[in-house]
Symmetry: C2
Subunit: 541 residues, 2 copies
C-alpha cells in the first residue's frame, strides 16, 4: 500500500514514522516543499533570544537521518499544487526542476501546516521585517539582531508567538512594543480581565503593549525604521509579523475537499470528505473535546498526537481522535500563563450557565525560597458543577495547574472530584492544600453560598458602583476605603450599616472571605468579597 | 454546641477554624500539650539546611494570632490523659500546674498527631542526637550544627524526612551517612528498583547509604561521637533519628476506641466507633482510595483535607472523606522523586494482575536550557488497563507528573484516557508529546504487543540470563555486547540467529524499541527491549 503524506513537520513526520513501525512493508512517502523537515517550530523565539544557542538544535532530524531512522522516503522541494481525488493522484511541482510530477496514492495524508499571515500593508518586504514560522525566519532574525544595532522592535500580534518573541527580544536588551488589532493580548486564550493583568505586567517589565491598534504601514528606505499605527508612529529597527497564520490549503481549492475558512474538515477518525484522504495538524479542523464543535487549533503538541493516532487508524486500529482542549502555556518575563478548556466567554458562547472564581494562592510553601503565587481562574457549569476550563498566571509552574485541569476535563470531572485530591506536597513543590484545590474551594464556597463575591470582570464592568469599600488587608492600603481590622471584629462594626452594600477587599481574597463570614454572622446582609483583591484588581475609588 | 479538639497542628487547627466559619456560634476549643500550634512540620529539614532562614517562618500562627483570626479558643500546655466517652469528658493534665482538668464535649475531634520513634538503643540521650518532628527539634539541630564543628552526621531512617535532612546537611557541607534497617530507602514509597536508583544517585552525590543495616548503639561521653551499626562503626558529630513515627494515642487505651497498631480506626465520615468522637490527621487511619482498605498515611497535606471535610461533616454536611492515594514527593540533591497510588508490589499484594513500564523521557524540549529527564514507572491493571500508580524520578518537576496521575486515579482513568491528552506544551515547560503520555505509550505498546520488553526489576532479578545483549545506542557503549547500527538494519543482521534470545539495549529505551520493530519484521522471533536501558539499569555482562 502506498501512503502519501504531504508535509514534513510535526504531524506529517509523526504519521509517517508510526505507520512504518506499524508495518514496515508499507510504502510511505513524504512530500514537502521545504528543504528541512521535522523542525522545532515552537523553539524559534528562543533561538532569537539566544536561549537556544545552536541552530542545529532547531532541526530534530535531517531528511537523511529521518529516512534512515524510519524507513520513510522523503522528497523535499516538492510543492503540492493539485489533488485529483478520483484518480488518487497528487500533482506536485519539483521546485528545483520547475516541472510538475504525479504522485499516486492509496491513502493520502494532508499535513501541510500553516503559514504566517502577512498583513496587507506597505513596507512588509523591507529588510528587518521577519515572520516567525520556519527555522530560517529565526536564523535571519537573530543574525539581523546581532549585526545591526537593533535598539527598538515592534512585534505585530500579541498571541503566543508574538509575546514569546517580545520576551526574547527584551532579553537581548531591545525595547519592544507589541501591537495587536484585538482589544486584548492573547485573544481566545484568556478572558479579557486575565489578558488585562498580563498586559499590565508586561508594561511593568518594559514591554509596551498597544491593543486595539491597527498597523497601517511599515516605513524605511531599504530597511525598516518605523511602523505607522492607528496609535501613532513607532520607531523600529526590527519588526516581527506574528499576526496569525492560515492553513496551507490553497492547492486543494478545486479538489472538492470540504474546508471552513481554509481549514480542512475532518471526522473523528481524522478523515476528510474525500475517500482515503486524511488531514492532520495545522491545516485541519479538529473537535473541541468539551463542546464537540469543530475548532481550528494549530498547535505542535496536538499535531503530534493526531499524527500518531492517524497512523494507527490507517494501519487498521479501531480508534478515534478525541479532539483538543485548546491547551496552551507561555513563558513571559517574570510571569507564565497557561490555559485549557473554555474561557468564561467561550463557555457562555457555548451555552453553559457559567460560574467562575479567581483565586490568588501561594504556588509553594510560603516560607520556601522562591515561592511565589498562582492566579487561578476556574470556569465551571453552575448546574452540574462540571469544570469547563482554567486560566492560570504566575511566575512558576503554571503548566502543572493546567495539566491537572486537562486530566479533569478529559474525565468530565466535577469540582467535587478535585476537592479532596491527594496531590503531591512537599515545601519545595507545593502547599499543604494544593493551589488547584484552594481555587476549587473558592468556587465551591461561592456555589454553596458560603461566600458571595464579585469577579474581577464584574468589578471592572462597574458592578461595585454604590458599594462602600472595606479594606481588610493586615494594614490599610486602599486610600479612601474604610479600614477594618479583621481580628477585632466580634460584633457590630461602628459606622457601618447592616444593610449597606459593602465590597470587602484584602490583598488576595482570603481575609475578605473571613471578614464576610463574621459580618454575616453579626447581621450584615449585603457584603461582597472582591476576588483577587488588590493583587489582581486595579481598585477604583 | 461544644466542640473539643485535641491537637493543634495541621488537622486540629484546620478543623477548628473551618468549624467556626461554618457557625461562629459554636464553642470550639483546642487543647494541646505544646506551647506552639499550627507549625510547619514539613519545613523543618529546610530550616536545618538554611533554606528557611527565620525560625518565625516555621510557625504559621501563634495561639494568640490564631484565636484572633478564627474565634477558636486555644489552651496550650494541656496534655490529654484520658477520654471518658460515656460521660463525654476528656481529662487533660495542665502541664504548668500539674493538675488534671476536665473538658466536657458534645463533639470530640482527636487530632493528636504522631511522635518520633526513638530506637531502643543506648546513647539516644546524648547531646547532638535529634529527632525532627517539632520546631524546637530543627532549631536545636541548627544551633548545634552552627556552634559545633560538625563534620559528619548519621541519619537513622531513609524515609522522606531522613532523606530531606540528609540533603540539607549535605548542603551545609556535612558528610552524611543514611542508615536504614529496611532493604531499601523509601520503603513502601518506591518499588525496590526505583529505590535502588535513588540510592545509587545519592551515593554519587556523596551521601553514603547503608540499607539493611541495624543501629546498635550511639557512642560518646557527653555528646555523640559515633554510631555502632551492624555494618560497623560510623563516626558522627550529629545524629538525626528519623526512623519513623507512632500515633499519639496512648491516652486512649482505656477509652474503648478502636485502634490498629495505635492508629484510630475511622469510617468514611471520619468517625470513630465512639459516639460523637472523630479522628483526623496522623493519629488516625484513613482509606486507600484505590483498594478501599484502611491505611495509615500520616501526611500534612491529607491532614489538612481531612480537617476541612470533618468540619463540614460536623457542621451538618452530607459528605464523606474519600481517602488517600499515598502521594508523596521529595527533593533530593539533583534528583526529585514523586509517587502516588500503588507501587508494583503494593498492587500485586492487593490482588491486581499488574503490568508496569518504565520510560525515560525528556522533561522539557531537549534544546531548551536546563532540560533534563523523567524516569517514569507506571503501574496498571492488565485486564482493565486502569492506572494504579506512578513513580517518577528526575531533576525537575516530578510533582507535575504525580499530580496528573492523582487526577487520573481520582477518576479511575484507564491508560487510554491519557493517550491523546491535550497537556500543556511550550519548550520551557514540556515536550510536544507530554512525558506522561510518552510513558503511557510505552505501557500501551507493551499491552498491545507492539513491544516486548523486560522491566528493570525483571532484569535485576536475572531474567536476561542466556540472552545476547545488542547495544543499539548511537555509539557502542556496552563492553562485550553486540553493537548494531539501527539505521543500517534493512534485513537480516549477520551473525545473529533468528531464534536467538536477544536483549536490546540503548540509552533510554526508544531506539531499542525501534530496532525490535525492525528485527521482528525481518523474522527475529525472540527480541526483548530493556526498559530504561543504560540510563536506568546497571548492565551486567
Amino acid at each position: 500500500m502506498k501512503v502519501l503524506i504531504i508535509g514534513g513537520v510535526a504531524a506529517g513526520t509523526k504519521t509517517a514514522a508510526k505507520l512504518k513501525r506499524a508495518d514496515r512493508g508499507l510504502e510511505v512517502t513524504i512530500l514537502t516543499k521545504d528543504q528541512e523537515i521535522s523542525y522545532a517550530g515552537c523553539g524559534l523565539p528562543y533561538y532569537v533570544g539566544g536561549a537556544i544557542e545552536d541552530r542545529a538544535d532547531l532541526v530534530v532530524n535531517t531528511p537523511q537521518q529521518y529516512e534512515a531512522l524510519t524507513g520513510v522516503r522523503v522528497l523535499v522541494g516538492r510543492e503540492a499544487v493539485a489533488l485529483e481525488p478520483k484518480g488518487k493522484v497528487v500533482t506536485a511541482q519539483n521546485l528545483q526542476s520547475g516541472l510538475n510530477e504525479q504522485y499516486p496514492y492509496d491513502k493520502l495524508v494532508i499535513a501541510t501546516g500553516a503559514s504566517s499571515i502577512i498583513p496587507p500593508v506597505e513596507g512588509v518586504e523591507l529588510e528587518g521585517v521577519f515572520t516567525m514560522r520556519k527555522p530560517e525566519d529565526a536564523i535571519r532574525a537573530r543574525a539581523y539582531l546581532q549585526n545591526r544595532n537593533v535598539q527598538r522592535a515592534v512585534v505585530v500580534g500579541g498571541g503566543f508567538i508574538g509575546l514569546e518573541i517580545a520576551e526574547n527580544l527584551l532579553a537581548q536588551g531591545v525595547a519592544v512594543t507589541v501591537v495587536d488589532f484585538a482589544g486584548q493580548v492573547l485573544p481566545n486564550v484568556f478572558d479579557a480581565e486575565i489578558a488585562g493583568y498580563v498586559k499590565r505586567h508586561l508594561e511593568k517589565k518594559k514591554i509596551r503593549v498597544l491593543t486595539g491598534t491597527r498597523v497601517e504601514r511599515l516605513n524605511g528606505e531599504e530597511h525598516v525604521t518605523s511602523v505607522t499605527t492607528s496609535a501613532g508612529e513607532l520607531p523600529a529597527d526590527l519588526v516581527v509579523l506574528s499576526a496569525g497564520i492560515r492553513p496551507n490549503t490553497e492547492f486543494l481549492q478545486d479538489s472538492g475537499i470540504e474546508m471552513v475558512k481554509g481549514a480542512i474538515v475532518t471526522g473523528k477518525r481524522l478523515e476528510t470528505n474525500l475517500p482515503d484522504v486524511y488531514a492532520v495538524g495545522d491545516c485541519a479542523l479538529v473537535y473541541n473535546r468539551i463542546t464537540g464543535e469543530p475548532q481550528w487549533s494549530p498547535m505542535g503538541s496536538s499535531a503530534n498526537l493526531e499524527g500518531r493516532t492517524l497512523a494507527q487508524i490507517i494501519a487498521g486500529a479501531d480508534k478515534e481522535y478525541p479532539g483538543v482542549l485548546g491547551t496552551g502555556v507561555v513563558k513571559l518575563p517574570g510571569l507564565n500563563g497557561g490555559r485549557t478548556g473554555l474561557t468564561e466567554s467561550q463557555a457562555r458562547a457555548a451555552g453553559y450557565e457559567v460560574i467562575s472564581a479567581l483565586a490568588v494562592t501561594d504556588d509553594k510553601a510560603h516560607y520556601y525560597p522562591g515561592s511565589a503565587f498562582f492566579i487561578t481562574k476556574l470556569v465551571a457549569d453552575r448546574q452540574t458543577h462540571r469544570l469547563l476550563g482554567v486560566q492560570v498566571l504566575g511566575p512558576g509552574a503554571v503548566d502543572k495547574m493546567v495539566d491537572i485541569a486537562v486530566m479533569g476535563l478529559n474525565m468530565n470531572a466535577r469540582l467535587e472530584d478535585f476537592e479532596n485530591a491527594d496531590f503531591a506536597y512537599a515545601p519545595p513543590f507545593s502547599t499543604a492544600i494544593h493551589p488547584f484545590v484552594q481555587a476549587v474551594y473558592v468556587l465551591l464556597n461561592k456555589l454553596n453560598g458560603d461566600m458571595t463575591s464579585m469577579t474581577p470582570a464584574e468589578y471592572a464592568a462597574g458592578e461595585a458602583e454604590g458599594y462602600r469599600i472595606i479594606d481588610v488587608a493586615p494594614t490599610s492600603r486602599i486610600p479612601g476605603a474604610t479600614f477594618v481590622n479583621l481580628t477585632a471584629v466580634n460584633g457590630e462594626i461602628g459606622g457601618i450599616g447592616k444593610d449597606e452594600k459593602i465590597l470587602i477587599v484584602c490583598v488576595r481574597g482570603k481575609r475578605a472571605y473571613f471578614l464576610q463570614n463574621r459580618m454575616r454572622y453579626y447581621g450584615y446582609t449585603h457584603t461582597v468579597v472582591l476576588e483577587g483583591a488588590t493583587t489582581f484588581n486595579e481598585i477604583k475609588q
